[in-house]
């Protein structure tokens, strides 16, 4: 009996141990958290090939807000994340980011100075963030369905395009459109401005086909609607796939954004994170990424290299001379973190999307339930009398 028990214990121990292969070298995992559809995934393989003991765990998010929730609520240890300007400002304010050691970034000087200057809006002294992609927000339109010149956000309120409009399902971007149309700042902290913008968006609701996120790309390629509010990089990609589409930046002004690479304080591999950021700034790698996702690269040589390509001549990729950042006339703004005022934005946006009041519904349901109940009661009562 004892022998059998001994054998069993030995067997169990042996099996458990043998299922863990003894590793000759320590494998480090680098956790990268990025927007969906925002990288040429071969680049990750290249990074792994260059660092044999590193395994990259690549995850994606679909909005700055969901990224923030996951970062702060969960126990995830991300090493590199790539959020947008206003979210980086918030993360810096809350002391969640690691100060970068620029001496470790050999390709840092490849980045055009203008983006570093522009980044100072949300990251003073460029201590925390390295620009990854930049762009604008504009109107993508189907030239076979829209004959007039598109140069104003007001076309999104035009009755003739009822059920032909895609809006972006993101509170900052949609409120930006309404605020700019009203001539207000997209970073307003005035409740009255937000109230006006809310009414404007509620007025627009019946005309909107759908509020979408990344799915707008496929749907505009197949020509489901005539007009869509899109990010410039998505516009470049859609126009490359469907030549009927064109992109316009409205005269009232728009959002100029920069998505940058940052290292959160929870990172376990700060040195390796620096190496990854540096790798992404390598002109060869940045070229691969920009050609794959078609967002504008802040790396000067890459941008000049790509500019000869068809899609890159469009203002979606290259708004040179159109927006104020590049000597144009259209005013742009960078999103700022509104602090606690963000709850007002949340509230306004939920009110825009909330269904219309309908007091008939509870009455109808109540009536039907009462009728069914009493009918049932009468039937069962009859049965008992038999």
């Amino acid at each position: 009996m004892k022998k059998i028990v001994c054998c069993m214990i030995f067997l169990v121990v042996f099996i458990t141990l043998s299922s863990y292969p003894v590793q000759a070298e320590e494998i480090t995992t680098l956790n990268v958290y990025n927007w969906g559809e925002y990288i040429d995934e071969d680049v990750i393989d290249l990074f792994e090939a260059a660092h044999p003991n590193v395994e990259v765990n690549y995850e994606t998010f679909d909005s700055n807000e969901s990224m923030y929730t996951k970062l702060t609520m969960g126990d995830a240890n991300y090493d590199v994340i790539i959020p947008s300007d206003y979210m980086i400002e918030r993360l810096i304010k809350e002391d969640r980011l690691v100060e970068l050691d620029v001496t470790k970034l050999t390709h840092y000087n490849e980045i055009s100075n203008e983006f570093l200057v522009k980044s100072e809006v949300f990251d003073p002294n460029n201590n925390y963030a390295v620009p990854y992609f930049w762009g604008t927000v504009g109107i993508l339109y189907d030239t076979t369905k829209v004959d007039e010149t598109v140069d104003s956000w007001s076309i999104l309120w035009d009755e003739t395009y009822k059920n032909q409009i895609f809006m972006y399902d993101s509170q900052r971007d949609s409120l930006m459109v309404a605020l700019k149309l009203l001539g207000k700042s997209m970073n307003t902290t005035d409740k009255e401005d937000l109230e006006l913008a809310k009414n404007k968006l509620i007025e627009q609701r019946p005309l909107v086909y759908s509020y979408v996120t990344d799915s707008v790309i496929q749907q505009m390629i197949s020509g489901e609607a005539a007009l869509a509010v899109v990010y410039s990089g998505d516009a470049a990609y859609i126009m490359d796939e469907n030549p009927d589409m064109a992109f316009a930046i409205p005269q009232e002004g728009t959002n100029f954004w920069i998505d940058s690479m940052v290292i959160p304080k929870t990172s376990q591999n700060i040195d390796l994170a620096h190496e990854f950021i540096d790798f992404m700034c390598d002109p060869d790698i940045a070229l691969r990424n920009t050609e794959y996702v078609m967002y504008s690269s802040p790396i000067e040589s890459v941008f000049n290299n790509v500019i000869t390509e068809d899609w890159a001549n469009n203002i979606a990729y290259n708004p040179d001379g159109v927006i104020d950042v590049f000597g144009g006339s259209i005013e742009t703004e960078v999103f700022r973190d509104p602090g606690d005022f963000i709850t007002e934005y949340d509230k306004v946006w939920s009110e825009v999307l909330a269904p219309k009041p309908n007091y008939l519904i509870p009455i109808i349901i109540g009536a039907i339930v009462i009728v069914a109940g009493s009918a049932y009661y009468i039937i069962t009562k009859k049965k008992k009398s038999y």
């Binding site: 929730t69 609607a225 909330a354 309908n358 509870p362 349901i365």
Partner: protein, 282 residues
């Protein structure tokens, strides 16, 4: 024998406790506290989240969710009862095959099936191609109430058909024959014998359809196109986007209370008959 069986159930009780009671308790704690400065450790007792819920826009959302779930249930019942009736009448070999056809789509992920509806109903989809061929102008019903309703009914109808089917096949044919013998017409037989006997199945079906329908969020979002905010979307948003777990928990508790009330109502009608059956066939 009885004692050892009791002891055997301990692991399950423990499991229920860990996986159901504790999470429920946590949700309740979250809903009546507010976490200061993003720290979930320091609690402060408050009913603010419940008060916050009863704002006009949230009431409208709740209103619309219940209406949609109600419509879904009614359509499922109207379509599902005859289907279950037909299946219960055909011979047993074909019966199994048809039941399999009802269950088969449930093996495929629900999101995938809903995406398929997006493609079918869309402007450049299968339906519009079909209407183009026969020269009818089709503007597409994707992103409307009808699209959401179609998706919901499609997804939940097996939960209505199967319980009704199980009660229908359990009905003793002698009872029906007796009714005919005593001179009841087909209509009378159905109304006085068959339908009352199948009611447990109907009640189970209504519960199984209504409960997931009232809190669903994926189907309304995919087929309703963003402008369709329901109570499920509201809860999801609190957790996923805004990180406001306290308010999200409060909404979940309110929804749970509503569901418990409607369950009690249904149970009351169920007790009146005190007949078993009406469970799912698997």
């Amino acid at each position: 024998m009885n004692k050892s069986l009791n002891r055997l159930s301990y692991p399950y009780l423990l499991w229920t406790f860990i996986m159901i009671v504790i999470p429920f308790f946590l949700i309740f704690i979250y809903s009546v506290t507010s976490s200061k400065e993003g720290s979930p450790v320091i609690f402060q007792f408050t009913f603010d989240h419940y008060r916050e819920f009863f704002s006009p826009s949230n009431i409208n959302i709740l209103n619309k969710s219940i209406w949609l779930a109600f419509q879904t249930t009614v359509y499922c019942l109207i379509l599902g009862y005859p289907a279950a009736w037909i299946i219960s009448k055909i011979n047993i070999r074909k019966q199994n095959a048809i039941i399999l056809f009802f269950i088969l789509p449930m093996w495929i992920n629900m999101l995938l099936r809903t995406y398929a509806w997006q493609i079918i109903l869309g402007r450049s989809g299968i339906l519009s191609t079909f209407f183009n061929i026969i020269n009818i102008k089709y503007e597409g019903i994707l992103y409307t109430d009808s699209a959401v309703l179609i998706g919901m009914v499609y997804n939940f109808i097996p939960f209505m058909v199967l319980p009704i089917f199980t009660t229908l096949i359990k009905i003793d044919d002698n009872l029906i024959e007796a009714a005919y013998d005593l001179g009841a017409s087909t209509k009378e037989t159905f109304l006085k014998i068959i339908f009352p006997l199948s009611l447990p199945g109907v009640v189970t079906g209504i519960i199984l359809v209504f409960l997931p329908a009232v809190s669903s969020f994926a189907i309304p979002r995919l087929l309703g196109g963003g402008q369709y905010v329901l109570i499920g979307n509201l809860i999801e948003k609190q957790f996923y986007l805004l990180g406001n777990w306290n308010f999200g928990s409060a909404i979940a508790i309110i929804l749970m209370i509503l569901i418990i009330i409607s369950m009690m109502f249904m149970k009351k009608t169920d007790e009146l008959k005190s007949r078993g059956g009406g469970t799912l066939p698997w």
